[in-house]
Symmetry: C2
DNA sequence: CTGCTAATTGCAAATCATTTGCATTTGTAT
DNA sequence: ATACAAATGCAAATGATTTGCAATTAGCAG
C-alpha cells in the first residue's frame, strides 16, 4: 500500500500566502508536492533546470516558504538540508539511509511509533539510531517576549 | 528532580578508543560530560579558551569523536550543529526553543513519549513542532555493500 | 630518563553552500 | 496600458568547516 501523492494547487497556495505566482515558485512547490521524500537543494536544482533558475533564487524561494510555514526544512546530518511540503498527513518523520542518504517520509505520528517501529525496521532493513527534537518556546523566552 | 550530571573519566574514554590523551581532548570530553544539554561549537570554543585551542583542532577532535561513536552530532536547524556525549541514558531526544535556541536533553525514550509528552509541554511552555528521524541502512545499500 | 616515531596541533589558505547588493525584469492591482 | 513593489540573475561576499604542511607532543622502547 503505497502512499498516494496528491498534486497540490501551487498557484492557489502562493496566492493564499501572498506570494506572486512566478514560474519558479510554482514549479518548486509542484516538485516538492510530487516527491515522496524530502528533497535536498541539489535535487531541486536538477528538477528545475528547465527554468535555468539561479541557485540564489531557489534559496530565496525556499527560505520564504519556510518562513511562511509552507515548507519544512529538515536537517538530519550536518551538511544535508532537505525540504518538503508541509502537509496534513506529514508529521515530519523520516528515515534516512546512513550509506546512500536516501530519505523516506514515514506516514505515522509519534503516538503510534511503538507499534510501527517493528514493521518499519523490517522495511528498511536496519535502524541504527534515531533522533527526535521538539521545537517550542521555553518559559524564559515567553516571559522575555511580553 | 533534576538530572544528576555524572562527570566521566575522559582519559579512560580516550584510551579505550585509542586516542592519545591530549589536554584539549580531555577538556573537550569533560566539558561535554558536564553540560546538561548539547553544546554548539561556539560555546565549546568559549569553554576551551584557556587552552587557546584552534578551531580547526576542535573540529578535528569532534569529528573524530563522532566517528568513534563517543559523541553525537545533533542538527536541529539548518545552521546549528551541536555536540553531546553519547551516554547510556542519552537517547538523543531534545527540546529546542525556537526563540533563543536553548536546548534541553530529554531523559526518556521514544517508547514512553506518549505519556511524557504532556508533562514535557508543561515544563517547556509550548511545543510548536517536532522532528523525528531514524537513521539506518536501506535494503538497496545492504545489497550494494556485500 | 632519553630518543624515536606517529599522531596531534597551529596556522594560513582553500572550500563550499548559502547569502547579499544591486541593476534589471516581471507580476499584479489600478 | 501603466506603475510600483516584488522577484530575479549575476557577481561578489560571507562564514562555518576543512585541508595542507611544518612544528610540536604523546606514547613507547630501550
Amino acid at each position: 500500500m503505497k502512499k498516494q501523492l496528491q498534486p497540490i494547487d501551487a498557484e492557489a497556495l502562493l496566492v493564499e500566502h501572498e506570494f506572486k505566482k512566478t514560474p519558479l515558485r510554482i514549479m518548486l512547490l509542484e516538485t516538492l508536492s510530487l516527491s515522496p521524500s524530502p528533497l535536498p537543494v541539489l535535487k531541486l536544482q536538477r528538477k528545475l533546470k528547465k527554468l535555468a533558475a539561479d541557485p540564489a533564487t531557489i534559496y530565496r524561494a525556499l527560505n520564504a516558504f519556510v518562513e511562511a510555514g509552507i515548507v519544512n526544512a529538515l536537517t538530519v546530518d550536518k551538511t544535508k538540508v532537505m525540504y518538503e511540503l508541509v502537509q496534513e498527513k506529514n508529521h515530519l518523520h523520516h528515515i534516512v539511509c546512513n550509506s546512500c542518504s536516501a530519505v523516506e517520509s514515514i506516514p505515522f505520528c509519534v503516538k503510534t511509533i511503538d507499534q510501527q517501529a517493528v514493521k518499519l525496521s523490517r522495511q528498511f532493513n536496519k535502524i541504527h539510531s534515531h533522533q527526535l527534537a521538539f521545537v517550542g518556546t521555553c518559559r524564559k523566552c515567553v516571559r522575555a517576549l511580553r
